[in-house]
């Protein structure tokens, strides 16, 4: 049977472009968009996407009994968190008054400070929305064919602050450097949207589709 990539659909956000992008970069794999824990557990690798607020995200994951599935699958399956899907992989998020999360990476999720003028008199708006460069702080198979300092599309008001600096794969600069990509063992996560980041994003998703940690 063909290899399969499961996209965890817990009802938040637009999985259309992500599904299409994965199909495009992994013609050998079947892309399964599902909220059924069993169907997802049967996939070879999983993507945890997400937009919106962290409290509702965690509530929906629990309601659909996907939270335990994600933690269990994270033991050995290649797994990729995107945007809010990355943030819920930390232990805790300050958003929505503070919410415990999945804890796949030690550390927490914090808000960008409120807009203050930078040296040029420009204020850093929140959300951090648009294209920013990602500096690769560590070599990794996922970076294969992706130039250092490449542009990726971001849209978020909170960002991960991983406790273990060795988990950081790449950083972006918005007032200060923050973790834009993290990984350990068989789990990786991006704050930016590879499915909205043109060819560089496609390369990254293609690398994940073939990643065998």
């Amino acid at each position: 049977m063909a290899a399969s990539i499961g996209v965890i659909d817990y009802g938040m956000g637009n999985l259309h472009s992500l599904g299409k992008a994965l199909e495009r970069v992994s013609s050998a794999s079947r892309v399964v968009i599902s909220y059924d824990p069993e169907e997802l557990m049967a996939c070879d690798r999983l993507v945890l996407p997400g937009v919106g607020g962290v409290r509702e995200c965690m509530n929906e994951l629990r309601r659909l009994e996907l939270n335990q599935m994600v933690v269990e699958a994270a033991r050995d399956k290649p797994m990729l968190g995107i945007c809010l899907g990355m943030q819920v992989m930390l232990e805790w998020s300050d958003e929505n008054g503070g919410v415990p999360a999945l804890g796949l990476f030690p550390g927490k999720v914090v808000r960008f400070p409120d807009p203050s003028p930078d040296a040029h008199g420009d204020r850093l708006k929140v959300p951090h929305m648009g294209w920013n460069r990602v500096v690769q702080t560590r070599a990794h198979l996922l970076w294969d064919g992706v130039p250092d300092d490449a542009w990726f599309y971001f849209v978020h008001s909170y960002h991960a602050a991983p406790a273990n600096p060795e988990h950081v794969l790449g950083t972006a600069d918005y007032g200060h450097a923050f973790a834009a990509a993290i990984a350990r063992d068989n789990i990786a996560a991006f704050q930016f949207h590879p499915e909205k980041s043109q060819n560089t994003g496609m390369t990254l998703l293609g690398n994940f589709a073939q990643w065998s940690p």
């Binding site: 938040m12 956000g13 637009n14 259309h16 472009s17 299409k20 992008a21 937009v51 919106g52 607020g53 409120d114 807009p115 420009d122 204020r123 850093l124 708006k125 929140v126 959300p127 951090h128 929305m129 648009g130 294209w131 920013n132 460069r133 542009w151 599309y153 971001f154 849209v155 978020h156 008001s157 600069d173 918005y174 949207h193 499915e195 909205k196 980041s197 043109q198 060819n199 994003g201 496609m202």
Partner: protein, 266 residues
């Protein structure tokens, strides 16, 4: 550092890209997928689709168009025009839009912005602000000593036809409080004139809110894009005719801005 965004805007009528001057003399300008692909290849940072179809029955055609474009273009896509209910927002997002733009419905019911933002995330809710300068009443005899009044702008809805009496700056602040993730600010005075953005309007709104501001209305030259980003402190610039008529490509615009020291994704 975050790059300033260059956003071509496409008017969509029953599944086709159209161009015209202020909705008059509308001409067919091609297939949305082809036009979107062209701008994507030229390096557009995002795309905005504005549905100008008057009849509500043509709505499913818009959803199909969005679906077709989202299948092929891997940059963010905003869709606006006639978004009035959470069902509209959901349909557009599930068709493949990344953000939706809300205008008239936000004025009629500001709570709609809160509801849509709460349900789908504020990052996908753009509030479109169509603003027109209010000409201050001059005293019968203009005296040199008279204090110059600061400019004011008023909000218009229904494609710029209906005045609301709302102050544009106050409205912008209120919309962000209600959960707008981004503001698309169009000067009704400048729209279609090629005389440049209303930089004062952009600057005033950008200084008053914490979310990104997209400049719109009046671009005729590359210098206008620069003015919107630098003097107007906009985070993104939207333009239609200079790109559609081939006056400049998106790439030319980006190189021009980068040469002038603006942070741009090349």
């Amino acid at each position: 550092m975050l790059a300033k965004r260059i956003i071509p805007c496409l008017d969509i009528d029953r599944g086709r890209v159209v161009k015209g001057i202020k909705f008059e003399d509308v001409q067919d300008a091609g297939d949305p997928v082809e036009v979107a692909r062209k701008y994507d290849q030229q390096g557009a940072d995002e795309l905005v689709f504005l549905d100008i179809t008057a009849s509500h029955e043509a709505r499913p055609i818009l959803f199909q168009t969005v679906e077709k474009v989202a299948r092929e273009i891997y940059i963010p896509l905003t869709v606006g025009g006639g978004v009035r209910t959470c069902a509209d927002v959901r349909c557009l997002l599930s068709a493949g839009a990344d953000k939706v733009s809300i205008n008239t419905a936000a004025v009629e019911n500001p709570g709609f912005v809160t509801e849509a933002g709460g349900r789908y995330g504020v990052q996908c809710i753009v509030v479109a602000i169509d603003a027109k300068r209010v000409v201050p009443k001059k005293p019968p005899l203009a005296r040199k000593s008279a204090r110059v009044e600061p400019p004011r702008w008023e909000i218009f809805t229904h494609g710029g036809r209906k005045a609301t009496g709302l102050d544009a700056i106050e409205w912008a602040v209120k919309m962000v409080e209600h959960g707008a993730g981004e503001l698309l600010v169009t000067s009704m005075d400048r729209d279609g004139t090629k005389a440049g953005y209303d930089v004062e309007l952009l600057d005033a709104i950008s200084a008053a809110v914490s979310v990104p501001v997209i400049a719109s209305g009046g671009v005729g030259t590359l210098e206008h894009l620069h003015a919107g980003l630098v003097a107007g402190h906009a985070d993104a610039v939207l333009a239609a005719s200079i790109f559609h008529h081939g006056t400049y490509s998106v790439g030319e615009a980006k190189h021009y801005l980068a040469d002038k020291g603006v942070q741009i994704r090349l």
